[in-house]
């Protein structure tokens, strides 16, 4: 990241991170369409995915306007390759068993909840209005995913074990979400983005509370963490997601009906 990044460039970068995380998690959840463990769960997952894709669209539209190089919101979603994607590593991880699906969702929802709550206070009206809309939806997502973590953790011996394994496996992708890089520091100083220290403290507080209530052991805060998504270094999974997600608009760029 160049040190001479303007505030406008930092904002574009940040909007893409928000949009990409929403988009990729939405796409991941949609893989469960027709295969979720129960009908009610399937409806819930698809509804959460729909919220996320809708939020992604709002962020992409604003990013496209600011970038202003002729690319549309669709182009940003469907015509960038993995190294241009800025989503958190967490959301590109495979669905795994349902403990993994819900653990991933919970870690992300907790981050999303505090991030978006801060953005509702942004002086940029467009950001504040998209965030205000999203905040109501995310509150629902977080309530649901934390309930599942508790139910699995404080459930049977097997569900407890699986939930603990999921938490332990996913933990290495949490550090990056709550650790601010220069883009986020710059936006915080400009009064736009969340306070990084506050965000990290809020996230840790809520995660510890839920894991404890779920009778799970929170992994150590100083555990080794994966990093890189903020500069486009992803795990191997993202390429496969994009291959499926982007195939149609790339193969048939003029397709107008769906």
């Amino acid at each position: 990241m160049s040190k001479t990044m303007t505030q406008q460039e930092a904002l574009q970068e940040y909007l893409l991170r928000l949009a990409d995380s929403d988009m990729i998690l939405g796409q991941r959840l949609c893989e469960l369409c027709g295969k979720a463990p129960a009908l009610e769960e399937e409806m819930a997952l698809m509804n959460v995915a729909l919220d996320l894709v809708g939020q992604a669209r709002n962020w992409y539209e604003y990013a496209a306007e600011l970038i202003n190089d002729g690319r549309s919101a669709d182009d940003l979603a469907f015509k960038r390759d993995a190294n241009r994607y800025r989503n958190a590593l967490m959301v590109e991880q495979p669905n795994g068993d349902y403990a993994v699906t819900m653990g991933r969702q919970f870690f992300f929802d907790a981050w999303h909840y505090f991030t978006i709550a801060a953005l509702t206070q942004a002086p940029d009206e467009r950001i504040a209005s998209i965030a205000a809309k999203a905040a109501k939806e995310i509150q629902y997502h977080l309530r649901r995913s934390s309930e599942w973590v508790k139910r699995f953790g404080d459930g049977t011996e097997e569900s407890h074990q699986r939930m603990q394994t999921a938490v332990d496996d996913l933990w290495r992708f949490t550090g990056e979400m709550i650790e601010a890089d220069e883009v986020e520091q710059q936006l915080f100083k400009a009064g736009i983005g969340p306070d990084p220290e506050q965000l990290a403290a809020d996230w840790r507080g809520l995660v510890n509370e839920v894991l404890t209530e779920a009778t799970l052991t929170p992994p150590p805060e100083d555990a080794w963490m994966y990093r890189g998504a903020k500069v486009g270094h992803h795990t191997e999974h993202l390429g496969f997601i994009l291959a499926e997600m982007q195939f149609l608009p790339r193969a048939y760029p003029d397709a107008k009906t769906w």
Binding site: E40, E41, M43, A44, N47, V48, L50, D51, L52, V53, G54, Q55, R57, N58, Y60, E61, S72, A73, D74, A77, Y113, E125, A128, S129, I130, A132, K133, A134, A135, K136, E137, Q139, Y140, L142, R143, R144, D254, K256, W258
Partner: protein
């Protein structure tokens, strides 16, 4: 994402207009259109996913005003990803066309964010009659760990109900079951 090429306004059923001709509110077409004409007209435009209530009753139409010779209709989506948003906007355009109003325009507004508090009393009654329990309580009182208040079965009126899923057939609803009459029902979530 904006779709390439805006389609002509049309209803879901090709041969059926968004408002049946006998439902278009009468107005003297020799007189200029008034704001009241537009509110009456849009009160006939139904939500495609909840056809019992109009977009006005749902509180999605926030403002109608004349600006520089155009009638601008402010519409707010219920959820960020609600797939009915575009269709509702097209339906409003089509309704204005059917009523002979040529200078109408839709403006999508996100703020203030839509809340179920904006559903009108008539809207709530119609939801109930349609078999959907209307939202209970005020959205401002919802907390992160808040528990929903008692939801009453729209079929038999029993308060003895249980939630089956936080999400129902559409983003705006949750799935409940009545423990007395045993019927499942949708609850319009309070947001």
């Amino acid at each position: 994402m904006p779709r390439p090429g805006k389609p002509e306004p049309r209803s879901l059923l090709e041969d059926q207009p968004v408002i049946a001709s006998d439902r278009i509110p009468a107005r003297d077409r020799s007189q200029p259109v008034t704001e009241a004409d537009l509110w009456a007209l849009l009160d006939e435009v139904k939500d495609p996913e909840v056809p019992a209530v109009s977009v006005v009753e749902l509180g999605m139409v926030r403002r109608i005003a004349e600006e520089n010779g155009e009638w601008v209709v402010d519409v707010t989506p219920t959820y960020s990803g609600c797939p009915a948003t575009e269709m509702i906007e097209e339906s409003i355009e089509e309704a204005m066309g059917l009523a002979g109003i040529r200078n109408g325009r839709i403006r999508r507004v996100l703020t203030p964010a839509w809340t179920t508090d904006w559903i009108t009393e008539t809207g709530r009654r119609k939801l109930q009659e349609f078999g959907i329990a209307p939202p209970v309580g005020s959205s401002s009182k919802l907390t992160l760990k808040g528990v929903e208040e008692t939801i009453t079965c729209p079929h038999c009126g029993s308060a003895h109900t249980e939630r089956v899923s936080e999400f129902g057939s559409t983003a705006c609803k949750a799935l409940y079951r009545c423990l007395d009459c045993r019927e499942p029902f949708d609850y319009f979530k309070c947001i």
